[in-house]
């Protein structure tokens, strides 16, 4: 075999004939370079074309028009965060997707490919759509119930149906939650709401008497909750939680022995209440007082 012929600083004048050629060493023909920014915000630049961009923390990534530089069709950009999510927003560029996509978590890589005219598409599967998630104090369940309609998420967000968290609200599936029970609510992987009531515990050891039909006088039953409940004042029970037994001090999301697990059941706060106006319990929570 003849010796190798070195070429220094070669510049091709036209398209290169790579017909049937392929790299032969272990290194291969590297597709990507690595840009280790180690920050939590970045506006993509031409230096990021065909690169793996690495960030840290919950990262806001801006896809812009690259200062007027048009990426070649087929340009790829890969991005990930070592310790958080990467959410992509656009500025004078288009990304075919639902609103506000983000990578699924640390080291999940997002990949986009340029079509043309600053229009990019997704490639790769490590994405989540717009979604709400919560930190669950009990690592137990993400289904919670509430009566309070006060805004937890901004109003526009309530229209989304593809959410990780669904909350039966007076019998209607809604997509927001009550931070009294869960804290640190995330939207698109970003912390959007906190409460000072971080995974607080309460003593569910006080018995209260409720009544089941059809003759409530003879169907009294004790449910256990925190001190200070007033079953005869129906509105005061909004969203409060009751257990079938004295479960002692627990997180709000504690579910063992909760009243009416998995299905709504009716009880009355007073003997002789109208049969058609019960309190509705589900998974421990009073979810309807009408």
């Amino acid at each position: 075999m003849p010796s190798l012929v070195p070429l220094h600083n070669a510049l091709s004048q036209n398209s290169v004939d790579f017909n049937s050629q392929t790299p032969i060493n272990d290194r291969g023909l590297l597709r990507y370079s690595v840009q280790d920014y180690n920050t939590n915000s970045h506006t993509l630049t031409p230096a990021d074309f065909n690169s793996v961009c690495i960030f840290a923390g919950d990262t806001q990534l801006v896809l812009s028009n690259f200062g007027g530089v048009t990426p070649p069709t087929g340009t790829e950009i890969i991005f990930l965060s070592r310790t958080g999510y990467v959410r992509v927003s656009t500025l004078n560029a288009s990304l075919y997707t639902s609103n506000g996509p983000f990578t699924q978590g640390p080291y999940f890589a997002g990949k986009i490919i340029h079509l043309n005219n600053n229009v990019w598409v997704f490639a790769g599967t490590n994405w989540n759509p717009n979604a709400f998630t919560v930190n669950n104090c009990c690592a137990d369940t993400t289904t919670i119930y509430q009566l309070n309609t006060s805004a937890v998420f901004e109003g526009a967000m309530r229209a989304y149906t593809t959410v990780d968290l669904t909350v039966p609200f007076n019998g209607t599936i809604e997509s927001y939650s009550d931070p009294v029970y869960y804290w640190n609510i995330f939207k698109n992987g970003y912390l959007t709401s906190t409460t000072a009531d971080d995974c607080a515990t309460y003593d569910y050891s006080v018995p209260y008497t409720f009544y089941a039909g059809p003759d409530p006088i003879y169907d009294a039953i004790s449910f256990y909750s925190v001190t200070g409940q007033t079953p005869t004042v129906r509105a005061s029970l909004n969203g409060n939680k009751f257990f079938l037994s004295d479960v002692g001090t627990q997180h709000d999301c504690y579910s063992t022995d909760a009243v009416s697990p998995g299905a709504p059941l009716n009880y009355h706060a007073n003997p002789g209440d109208f049969p058609n106006s019960p309190l509705i319990f589900m998974d421990g929570y009073v979810i309807n007082i009408t």
């Binding site: 075999m1 003849p2 010796s3 190798l4 012929v5 070195p6 070429l7 220094h8 600083n9 070669a10 510049l11 091709s12 036209n14 398209s15 290169v16 004939d17 790579f18 017909n19 049937s20 050629q21 392929t22 790299p23 272990d26 290194r27 291969g28 023909l29 590297l30 597709r31 990507y32 370079s33 690595v34 280790d36 793996v52 690495i54 070649p72 890969i78 990930l80 640390p106 080291y107 999940f108 890589a109 990949k111 490639a123 790769g124 599967t125 490590n126």
Partner: protein, 121 residues
């Protein structure tokens, strides 16, 4: 246009400037080389970078710590018709199920014994 000048046994001393150049035929330079490890287990080494590894069935591959100088090198691997697991001393940061036959996974090495997964079925 002058005739094409063949150059044999070229060794570039610096990166070839291919800026704004394309390939000129349908028979392109191949991005990956097919490789059949022919076993049900495989320790990934430098020779697997830039390869499409195809395994015959249920396999375990090990991401080793022996390719530290090939940052941004990547490899595909696929298995049919069974699942495949990953292990090894290098850190593979994200896991995906490989329950689907012919599922493909692409790894990219980002340095310091860290691998990421770009695509997965």
């Amino acid at each position: 246009m002058p005739a094409i000048v063949p150059l044999s046994n070229i060794k570039l001393q610096s990166p070839l400037d291919l800026s704004n150049k394309g390939v000129s035929s349908a028979n392109l330079a191949k991005r990956f080389i097919f490789k059949d490890p022919g076993a049900t287990s495989k320790v990934i080494d430098a020779s697997d970078v830039g390869k499409l590894l195809k395994f015959p069935g249920a396999c375990t591959i090990s991401l080793s710590n022996n390719i530290s100088d090939i940052v941004a090198g990547d490899t595909f691997r696929v298995t049919a018709p069974a699942s495949m697991g990953d292990t090894g001393p290098a850190t593979r940061h994200v896991t995906f199920s490989d329950a689907t036959a012919n599922s493909v996974k692409q790894y990219v090495y980002i340095g310091a014994n860290n691998w990421i997964v770009i695509n997965s079925n």
